[in-house]
Subunit: 330 residues, 2 copies
Amino acid sequence: MNYSIGMDIGGTNVVCGLVNADGKLLHKIKQPTESSKGSSYVFDKIGRMIEELLVKSGIEKSQVSVIGAGTPGFIDPIKGITLFAGNLRWTQVHTAEEISRRTGLPVYIDNDVRMYVYGEALCGAARGYEHVLGITIGTGLAASMINNGQLYYGSGYMAGELGHILMPEITYRCGCGMTGCLETAVSGTGIARQAREQMENGRASIMHDWLNGRSLEALTAADVSKAFDAGDPLAVEVLNHTGMLLGKGLASAVTLYSPDIIVIGGGGALAGERLLAPMREQLKQSVYSGYWDRLTIRTAEMLDDAGIVGSAMAAGERLSSTGTQIHQQP
Amino acid sequence: MNYSIGMDIGGTNVVCGLVNADGKLLHKIKQPTESSKGSSYVFDKIGRMIEELLVKSGIEKSQVSVIGAGTPGFIDPIKGITLFAGNLRWTQVHTAEEISRRTGLPVYIDNDVRMYVYGEALCGAARGYEHVLGITIGTGLAASMINNGQLYYGSGYMAGELGHILMPEITYRCGCGMTGCLETAVSGTGIARQAREQMENGRASIMHDWLNGRSLEALTAADVSKAFDAGDPLAVEVLNHTGMLLGKGLASAVTLYSPDIIVIGGGGALAGERLLAPMREQLKQSVYSGYWDRLTIRTAEMLDDAGIVGSAMAAGERLSSTGTQIHQQP
């Protein structure tokens, strides 16, 4: 009983990994999710993936105590239900029970970003810190707070929606129904959109040349980073502006949560200092010095593995905690 | 051992109260703090006040298990030290130890606003709610979050400084060193200041008549509320603007903390619907509907007693919790 299995069930891929008691990821396997084929198809596939993972690792199922899985969207971790996950097209799916039925193991689920941040907090960039604010910059902007080693959920497990703080500088409409949400600009999508809109309005940029006749819709945040490195004034302006906005949003989060450390992950973290330098400058100006002085800022260390290790460790923690006995028995 | 003593040590008065196990305040006594005479003088007075409280209540000291005290400013509740309290002129004062030495009882201290919010959460307007955001509008603007019944402290016990979130609409310099902090406008002081500055610039107001030759410096937030009731356009504008700013600040707090309920207390809460109606309207527009739909907003019920009951109950909780054995023995 010394192993846990961690999973990241994403819109594109499912990744399963075998994790030991120290949080070390020993083996992992990945398959396309194919969520368009329905949730039963995905769960059957997950059942087979876990068998395969055990065979490849040379581990008996009896040596595995628990499965933890991160899924996107709104989750009820107590009931083990994925309430709504847009990019899986899942509504009210009993994820924990379904995986438990196919594996014979207790299963805990949680939001994928929380599990990513939990992994970084336990075994990655925030190892040893008690108060961890983790953010992921990807298609959107998500965040999760760990306070005294405990995940902070709030009412309805809805805390930490940094991406939906409003910014007067932003005029984009958001999928949530509001206008001006931070993630409409501070995200991979948002960075590309800012550049694209200026280019549509006739702004010169080296990125015009790279499109080679393709539509401006093809532009990505990675293109903007590349243009930044080539000294393209538009790309520099967009990443500076995005970093400034992120710094302002984080200032509110730091003032309310008082973290020791901010860990920045997700695909957007690949922009690195192009984004983080202006973010840091703005954040320093926008918080009381007592917060800034005690704050560490780091990029994530574990990349894609953070969610797998985090969900495996969180599941192990929940299994052993009598206070939160929420695992699903087959 | 069925009683606790709760205290509120403020810049103006010290209040001590006897609280039973159900959180009912049975007796209280109040004296001026006279902090200018030094902390030893204040602690000697507190020792005598507690003797007097017991005599008046007809209770033996052996029936009291613990003392809890709220003090303003930055507190280390684990070490029992008031790190810095500007309006008491205290720096690094060993408050818990000093009171314990004079009373022979274990003493726990905490920030006065946290204790006020804890009192309202346990026995006041937020009774029965798990995720409580409490704010006090007074000389400044302070907040505290209770999550799953647990006070949220963050790194350095510094979480919840809602008053120091920056607002682009605000241009006042704050005592903390920044410019544009929410509390420079959303506070009793801030409300009076907004009205005063416009009157200094020649803006007409019924409040000019009320001053009767006194300087505009004499203007208070209560005057602005009174002028609002008289239909004074300046007062209406100031309270609408202040409510709107509070709504924007609370929107960030709701999005990050996800409370079930917001409790609004402090002297500024006396402005009531004059302030809360525009606050509510702005908040509804500025948060994702999933937060708004689950949110209750109430004014505090216990007024000045919340801090006394809260500190007594928190001290009782800490005394009985093996996880946080932090009380000071004489």
